[in-house]
């Protein structure tokens, strides 16, 4: 059915130059307008999952009034099933730093931060070494843009951008009300661009290839390639860079173990796609979006256990401030257990579906809003497993 096929690409991890920081140097010779035009032209959308057009984000921050601005790299990769940011930071840190520096120049920021999840603390010595060399280069290039690492300490919600700022400011990672958005009021309430690790690398690749070349990858809604973290029931788990807009059935052919029952696209906050929908599901912003997590389940797995695991995760990792998320997650978890045990009739699942819909439209941030994704897609597609 899908015309698109699965294409492996080598954009993110490929060595782009023998000379360190070459793309950064050439980019800095261009005007900010030129850079923004290229970004806009490339169609690049954020790689963290939400998919906001990167050029617009940068433009808003550049235009926002403020004497001090910041660039933040979101490396709080906590979505279950995702590990691509670790791999990117480990293998091509210079591309990340370069992307941040270009952003700093465009928006007028002199300070960049990498917010690294506490689980990746072991990477810090290597990253610091790389940063030393970056700072030497950037001095030579004549740009005032330093980068510092800030550590998380084990809180999934801090991947939410405003929660991340709260955490960097020494507080509890509780998401803020929006508006205002980070581009006008981010870290320290100053205009801030916050992008995912992979987004910054894409920027560098666009700078190197030019938007026309870059645009050839992917579909009109989902430009470029994407780094996927593949795990679960697959003979070849790992990190793969694939073109966006691929059909899920091709993906399953490639990565499944021949007995794939469902794929969870986008982690615990993403969608569960059952076998019968593989052939009309496209991975990308036009179909099922993902920050890169692809968890494959074969027919030996209980989807009830999968959902139970996700809900335990959300119940624990919700920041707890807003009612729908804090109490809703507890109710969904307790509810499926009650149905499974027969303490509640199967129709109670309908009640829970309505609740998850309310959570989706009333929760304060993306966490509470996205619990319904996995909940409704698993319950709808595997109802029998929830009951018997």
């Amino acid at each position: 059915m899908s015309e698109q096929t699965l294409k492996r690409v080598d954009l993110i991890f490929g060595e782009y130059s023998n000379e360190k920081y070459k793309v950064l140097a050439t980019s800095l010779e261009r005007t900010n307008e030129d850079i923004l035009t290229d970004l806009l032209e490339s169609g690049l959308r954020g790689r963290g999952g939400a998919g906001f057009p990167t050029a617009m984000k940068w433009k808003y921050a550049a235009e926002a009034p403020g004497d001090e601005k910041f660039v933040v790299c979101n490396a709080d990769e906590g979505e279950p099933g995702t590990f691509k940011d670790r791999e990117i930071l480990y293998r091509v840190p210079r591309k990340v730093f370069s992307g941040m520096a270009i952003c700093g120049r465009v928006i007028g920021a002199a300070k960049g931060y990498i917010y690294l999840r506490g689980e990746y603390k072991f990477m810090v010595p290597e990253l610091k070494k790389e940063l030393e060399s970056y700072h030497e280069h950037i001095k030579e290039l004549g740009l005032d843009f330093t980068i510092e690492i800030k550590m998380g300490s084990g809180a999934y919600i801090c991947g939410e951008e405003s929660a991340l700022f709260e955490s960097m400011e020494g507080g509890r990672g509780e998401p803020r009300n929006k508006p205002p958005y980070p581009t006008t009021s981010g870290f320290m309430k100053k205009p801030t661009v916050i992008n995912n690790v992979e987004t910054f690398v894409n920027v560098v690749m666009i700078m190197r290839l030019g938007p026309d070349q870059y645009k050839k990858l992917g579909t009109s809604d989902s430009r470029g390639s994407k780094v996927f973290s593949v795990s679960g029931d697959t003979p070849i788990p790992g990190i793969y860079e694939l073109e966006l807009g691929m059909p899920l059935d091709r993906f399953v052919d490639e990565f499944g173990d021949g007995d794939t029952k469902a794929v969870q696209v986008g982690g615990a906050s993403g969608f569960c796609v059952p076998r019968k929908k593989f052939n009309d599901t496209v991975i990308g912003f036009e179909g099922v979006p993902t920050g890169g997590s692809m968890m494959i389940f074969n027919s030996s797995r209980s989807m009830y256990n999968v959902l139970h695991n996700y809900l335990e995760f959300f119940e624990e990792e919700s920041c707890g401030q807003c009612t729908p998320c804090r109490v809703g997650c507890q109710q969904l978890l307790k509810g499926i257990v009650a149905v499974k045990k027969g303490e509640k009739k199967a129709v109670y699942l309908d009640q829970l579906m309505k609740l998850s819909e309310s959570m989706k439209i009333t929760a304060k941030c993306g966490l509470g809003q996205s619990v319904a994704n996995s909940f409704s897609s698993i319950v709808n597609n595997f109802k029998e497993e929830m009951i018997y």
Partner: protein, 155 residues
């Protein structure tokens, strides 16, 4: 500069500063040294940063790696997310519970090990995975866990 045993709060404050943004690095620094943040440490930090102790407590208890109860010298955190679970997390935990003679959530009487579960560590392609303090171990099998824990026991 590495903070010393006796005067570590002051030294951490000197390194990181007294603004609210310094709170996380200071708390992380205490955990790196002591494996947990005591009530006394928290009041001291609060006074240094002109915060209330309840605010410091609020921040610390938000983060699962900022323990506020005493932990062992080696804190083992086993990933409990679905893919690690599918690949034998329970056996791994059982193995360590048997070796250390403690249950999940407990600390050995000699204060050497604490065994905990944690959310996704980002090693889903190589599950089951765990952290011992900051060091990740993935692709765990019963044999591998035996070797790793034995090595730590002899440390």
């Amino acid at each position: 500069m590495v903070p010393t045993e006796s005067n570590y709060i002051n030294e951490l404050v000197e390194i990181h500063g007294r603004s609210r943004t310094s709170l996380m690095p200071i708390l992380q620094g205490v955990v790196a040294l002591k494996n947990y943040i005591s009530d006394q440490d928290m009041t001291e930090i609060a006074n240094e940063l002109d915060l209330s102790a309840a605010q410091v407590y609020g921040t610390a208890t938000f983060y699962s790696f900022l323990d506020t109860i005493p932990r062992g010298e080696y804190v083992i955190r086993v990933c409990k997310t679905i893919t690690c679970d599918m690949h034998g997390k329970r056996t791994i935990i059982q193995t360590m519970e048997d070796m250390l003679k403690i249950k999940v959530g407990e600390t050995t009487p000699n204060k050497k090990f604490t065994l905990l579960e944690t959310n996704c560590l980002g090693w889903c392609h190589e599950g089951p995975a765990m952290l011992i303090n900051d060091t990740p171990y993935s692709g765990l099998t019963v044999e591998k866990v035996h070797d790793i824990i034995s090595e730590y026991m002899n440390k």
